[in-house]
Symmetry: C2
Subunit: 244 residues, 2 copies
DNA sequence: CGAACTGTTGAAAACTTTCAAATCTGGTGG
DNA sequence: CCACCAGATTTGAAAGTTTTCAACAGTTCG
């Protein structure tokens, strides 16, 4: 769903930067490794804020909840991403973090991180950079949510996931979604049926292909085709192009 | 639009904290004051990131743009809020910041801030807190955007504005919107007509009252009534309650 | 093999947008 | 001072998109 709004060549973000971050953390602060499996909860909303969490591997979602039971996936996180940053302000986590797959999480006490950062400029810079990237992502997510029709948001979601994999040096032609249609729909502000229909249309247009029966493994011949699909979905009323 | 998702009593945020922050900045880093008027641009998207900006007074919006010309208001900022934080990650601002009214902005070089923060824990803590608060706000905005119907989002917007004023020790029964219906609609992911209709319904239900001819000054007898209105808007199909 | 889940698809209903027209405000110039 | 114009807001009606409701198919697991 996120958008590459402008050039970022001056500050590339790729596998090298991510490994560097992880090494930096490893070298400068104590942390605890935790292995997680799908649906494991890393921390809960409202819980006292103590640690920040860095994904060393795996996939994670952040879920925000209203008092009345409305829930919203507000972020997806991959290797090198920090989680729990929204706990700094109020002393308790604002979201719940849940693993979408098996993976390894590093827990770093914010206090020790804070002290280390005061002595290690690179660490402080990395932390600020992580928070800032998070803000950029949120803003891009809002842009997509508010200005794109449903089909385009789903295509944008796939492109975002593919981009995240690419930044981590992984192949992007094959994406295994770790989320159900309902989770995707929640994240994108639409129902699961709408997600399903959008994916079907993309498959019909051969922008994607379903690689297995479960329909969660998605083949993306060219990520760029998703961008075209988004553009078309914005321009054209539903049945205009390729209607049969 | 934002939601008070859970208790935050352990870390209150009010006029005292804001004044403290401003004093802290004043005491620890050099900064430039800049007086602005409505529609003045503080910084533009893509511009080289040098300064962070702190609102000393006035009202501001942050606008994110896609390459194809779609624009989205992704944040509203008040006294004590930081702007430009999304520039840290990529070395250029991700959004454009625009003043909604006259006000005073403080420009602080990020570099000098960074250095001062390494020596002044309170400053570093304040900065992290500001970024974290921003993340929480974004998450709450996404929750509203994705889970609330249009009427409720507009009511939530008014409540958010009133809350922001209250946190700054200002009166909340009288709110002068600094934004046109179109800007509000953009921020809330709906058209200006939908905003207008929602406000009209709230006025009809006496949740708000228009205090002048321009219809931008809004009287809110009890902020709590907005919360009830939101709840009702969620539960009930459009013409269910108070239909005539 | 059946139950529980997940995903797909169709059709009707609901909500929001689009298009249009009218009203109002504020500012400008005669 | 008043007429007039541009821009903002409101409101109605039609159109469009998305949701809701429902039924069906495929998968997984005990």
């Amino acid at each position: 769903m996120y958008e590459a709004t402008r050039s970022r060549e001056s500050h590339p973000f790729g596998p090298h930067q991510i490994d560097e971050l992880l090494q930096l953390v490893q070298a400068s602060v104590p942390f605890q490794r935790r292995l997680v499996r799908a649906d494991d909860v890393i921390f809960q909303a409202g819980q006292a804020f103590v640690n920040l969490y860095i994904a060393n591997s795996g996939f994670y979602k952040l879920v925000n909840s209203s008092g009345e039971g409305r829930e919203q996936v507000v972020g997806l996180h991959f290797k090198g991403d920090w989680m729990g940053l929204d706990g700094i302000a109020h002393g308790c986590y604002g979201c719940e973090a849940v693993a979408l797959d098996t993976g390894e999480i590093w827990a770093v006490s914010y206090e020790s991180l804070f002290h280390s950062a005061m002595k290690t400029p690179a660490l402080l810079a990395a932390m600020h950079s992580a928070m800032s990237r998070e803000l950029v992502r949120d803003h891009d997510a809002m842009l997509s949510l508010c200005t794109l029709p449903a089909d385009a948001r789903v295509a944008g979601f796939l492109r975002y996931w593919a981009d995240a994999l690419e930044q981590r040096g992984l192949r992007t032609d094959q994406v295994t979604l770790r989320m159900s249609r309902a989770e995707i729909g929640n994240y994108l502000g639409m129902t699961l049926e709408t997600v399903s229909r959008a994916l079907s249309r993309m498959a019909r247009d051969e922008v994607i292909r379903f690689a297995e029966k479960g329909r969660r493994e998605i083949h993306i011949p060219q990520v760029q085709a998703l961008t075209s699909f988004i553009r078309e979905a914005c321009a054209a009323p539903v049945g205009t192009a390729n209607a049969r």
